[in-house]
């Protein structure tokens, strides 16, 4: 911020953004505490259950009921699945998650304020350079997350979403911040409004799919270990963090991840087409394998691969989840590394 800009709309925007970052950081902490407590609660419930079973089984020589572990896991996963779909009024009471969500909503309001004031100050849509892409992109990530919460109880993704937002938004505010300058001619197009907005929306959906795919892999590992331990009647290896015991099964996580990914894929397809139309107006060709075009294409093909993998025998499950993870990694790579270091026509980062 320049010294002279004491109380301009632009500086108000910056203030709001930093407030949002701070509130999101608190939300992250609350969500993290929630995950930790979920683990503890799950253990309590389990030991209680085990004690009851021991009492019942006291008459039967006290052999550890191994196969019971698998059944118990399935039981828990079914319950978690029902909880995932529970309507808002009937959701599991999780105090810390509730605090996390409230803080996220608060942070979102500040964030929205920061984004809108930036747009008003600039007199145009607030997504025309890297700082603004990050500002609006993360806003949409949080908006989509909060929107999805109305339908699914995905609060277990809260720490991932708020964490991602704090990192991206914080890093952008620190190192990509540029003062408002008038738009360069090539950016004066309705396609800027559409293309970039839809791309950000797709990114938000891919982010949710990514988070779910990661959990799916962790859950699948826990399921494998539990099953293996029950077969060999050996001591179960630790299947991962305790909160996994409060989440739906890998299958349910997978099909939810898939649903977000296909929505994201549609938006990404649209991004690709809108970008081509714009390129045809601005540069005289709809496709030229410019670096940014290459990466948009690579991401599209990766997610097409993910969708295919889900329909290919031997690839459904963990293998396809890796493709979702690689796809989102490419999205982030495209936004950060490609924008900053790769040479090309999309030189609108506003950085020099």
């Amino acid at each position: 911020m320049p010294e002279t800009a004491t109380f301009t709309l632009e500086s108000v925007s910056v203030l709001l953004v930093w407030t949002a970052i701070a509130v999101y950081a608190l939300a992250f902490v609350a969500y993290a505490v929630d995950l930790a407590r979920r683990g503890a609660v799950a253990v309590d419930a389990k030991t209680e259950g085990a004690r009851e079973r021991e009492l019942v089984a006291a008459g039967y020589a006290g052999a550890p009921a191994r196969s019971g572990a698998v059944a118990e896991m399935h039981e828990q996963e079914r319950a978690s699945e029902a909880a995932l779909n529970a309507p808002i009024g009937r959701r599991t009471r999780l105090v810390w998650a509730r605090i996390g969500t409230s803080l996220t909503v608060l942070g979102f309001l500040f964030h929205l304020g920061g984004d809108v004031t930036r747009g008003i100050a600039a007199g145009r849509v607030p997504w025309s350079n890297m700082y603004e892409f990050a500002l609006t992109g993360t806003l949409l990530v949080v908006a989509v997350y909060l929107g999805v919460l109305l339908r699914y109880d995905l609060r277990f993704l809260g720490s991932f979403i708020t964490g991602l937002t704090v990192v991206l938004l914080g890093a952008s505010a620190l190192s990509f911040y540029v003062e408002i300058t008038p738009l360069m001619d090539p950016l004066k197009s309705v396609w800027l409004v559409i293309h970039v907005f839809v791309a950000s929306l797709a990114t938000a959906l891919f982010a949710l799919a990514f988070g779910l795919s990661v959990l799916q892999l962790m859950q699948a590992r826990r399921e494998r270990r539990t099953a293996a331990a029950s077969e060999s009647s050996a001591v179960a290896l630790k299947g991962g963090p305790g909160f996994l015991r409060t989440l739906p099964g890998a299958d349910a996580l997978e099909s939810l991840a898939y649903r977000f990914a296909i929505l994201g894929f549609i938006f990404w397809t649209f991004t690709l087409i809108a970008g081509s139309i714009w390129a045809n107006d601005a540069w005289g060709r709809y496709w030229g394998f410019d670096t940014k075009e290459v990466w948009t294409f690579v991401i599209w093909v990766l997610y097409a691969g993910y969708i295919h993998a889900r329909a290919t025998r031997g690839w459904r499950g963990s293998r396809s989840a890796w493709l979702s993870i690689i796809g989102f990694t490419a999205v982030i790579f495209n936004f950060t590394i490609v924008n900053m270091f790769f040479k090309g026509l999309h030189a609108y980062s506003g950085l020099s």
Binding site: L84, I180, Y258, S276, F289, G314, L345
Partner: protein, 612 residues
Amino acid sequence: MSRPRSDVSASGPGSASEPTPSASEPTPSVPDPVEGTLRPSDHADADSSAEVNQPALGVVGWLRWGWRQLTSMRTALVLLLLLAIAAVPGSLVPQRSADPNGVTQYFNDNPDLAPILDNLSLFDVYTSPWFSAIYILLFISLVGCVIPRTKHHWKALRAKPPRTPARLSRLDVSRTETIRPRPGAGERPEDAASAAIDLAQQQLKRTGYRVERYDSRGATSVSAERGYLRETGNLVFHASLVGVLLAVGIGGGFTYTGQTVIIEGRTWVNTLLDYNSFNPGRFVDEASLTPYALTLDRFDVTYQPFGTQGAGQAGDFVANLTTQMAGEETGTGDVRVNHPLEMAGDRVYLMGNGYAPTLTIRDGDGDVVFSESVPFLPQDTNMTSLGVVKVPDGLEEQMGLVGFFYPTQLQREDGAFTSYFPALTNPVVTLDVYTGDLGIDGGVPRSVYTLDTSEMDKLTGRGTDVESLELAPGDSAELPDGLGSITFENEAPEGATGYEDSVKRYVSLSIHRDAAATWVLIFAVLATAGLLAALFVPRRRMWVKATPSGEGVELEYAGLARGEDPTLHGAVEQFAQRHVIAFERDRAESPSTQPLSREPSSTEPGSTPRVD
């Protein structure tokens, strides 16, 4: 959330016989004269028995095996992933198509590595043999996959929904209800059953299902299927991808792009001669370009003023043109960034702009030997521009001048000149004079923007004892050695004050005919529409069976997902409720029979317990 995957094996065209359910059967088989979708044998939902490999049967057997491998889901997946990986190097290494100067630079910076990369086609990734191989294989696989599925789908579209399975309770989602006649009602359960199924049939049909009645063994049933659009969408999507590829490949042959420069006041004609460069596709007839003419009346641009954020940033570029088609009245048109001008099916783009100082050179006798506006190439955002003047004739020796134009000249601390602002506030041209052989007579093409001084003597500037020429608009100066004089003409209209308009501007235009773009767009939109249908239209089967029993009629509802279908469960539940309610209402309204009371008897594990 139940996993929306069908547990029912898809039976191939050869296995259409009616299955006989036995107690040991793990899942019920659905009798299916024509299976709804034909999928590659390694599709996650395909019948696994199809994968039993036959022993190799000579050449034909091997070919058939190879073709099956190529058109399998796994191959498609591997090729897709390969395509993604293969596209990446083109973003790491400059490409000849997108950034030819970058390639030259790369060769200069990495003289050892560049030739190796070049041998691997890494500067032309997207036309390289290995990249082409991947996408061509992918598209062969695609066609091989889509054609049989299209044939199959065509048949499926006209087939009846499959026979009702014997035991509906084994399907993905099922639910039962029982309706009992009220004591004293004189209606036979058989009639009630038949009426209930009639109603279900109507309701299903109304909601877009294709329906078929199957009445047998004392049970009445309706079988319904919907969502054929899902498979249609999938096929349209994949076929449209082929369309995109063909449009690009074939349309590219009829496409041309050319570049030209027009100085204010000059006219350019759409003939090969007038282009600075021209890249035609294979089938373009260069002799029959539509003859039209463009005159640059004026080029406008605004610069952010001093003292604001982004001072000097240029914007609102407009090339105001007079347009003329052969044999027609003249018209006007303008070209802006993002807004190309349409001319006879061509699109005219504004690619760049600059200053073209008008220079007049006279020989020792005062006769004009050169008088032209010379486009100078901008070197920075403040429009410091580099230009070359070549005077091949009229003087004893050929002469060349090279130098800079500064729209707002400023002397830096080290003494060098620079431009401080892109508009004409203090325009100055500085030139150095060379005489000798311009090297343009040998037939070797030379760029008009470079001066080959290897056969020339430098007469002014650094390394000589004569100062470089330095001229403002309107100034003249003597050339060294009594060669003559040079004038930097002021182009401003009579009586103008200041330097505004003192130097002409030029625009560089790019003229494109793209025969493919429209088709590519059409196929891309088709692909997207297909994709929406393929991903979001649920394909499902639903059955309603009514079995009259001693006390009443048992109604069974069941649904089966064909592909991803997260809402199947809700759909079956909802249908069952609507059906029963409508059925009771009909009974109540009908005077001839008494209403039947109903009572839910059971729900299946997959469904949520009813709260009644």
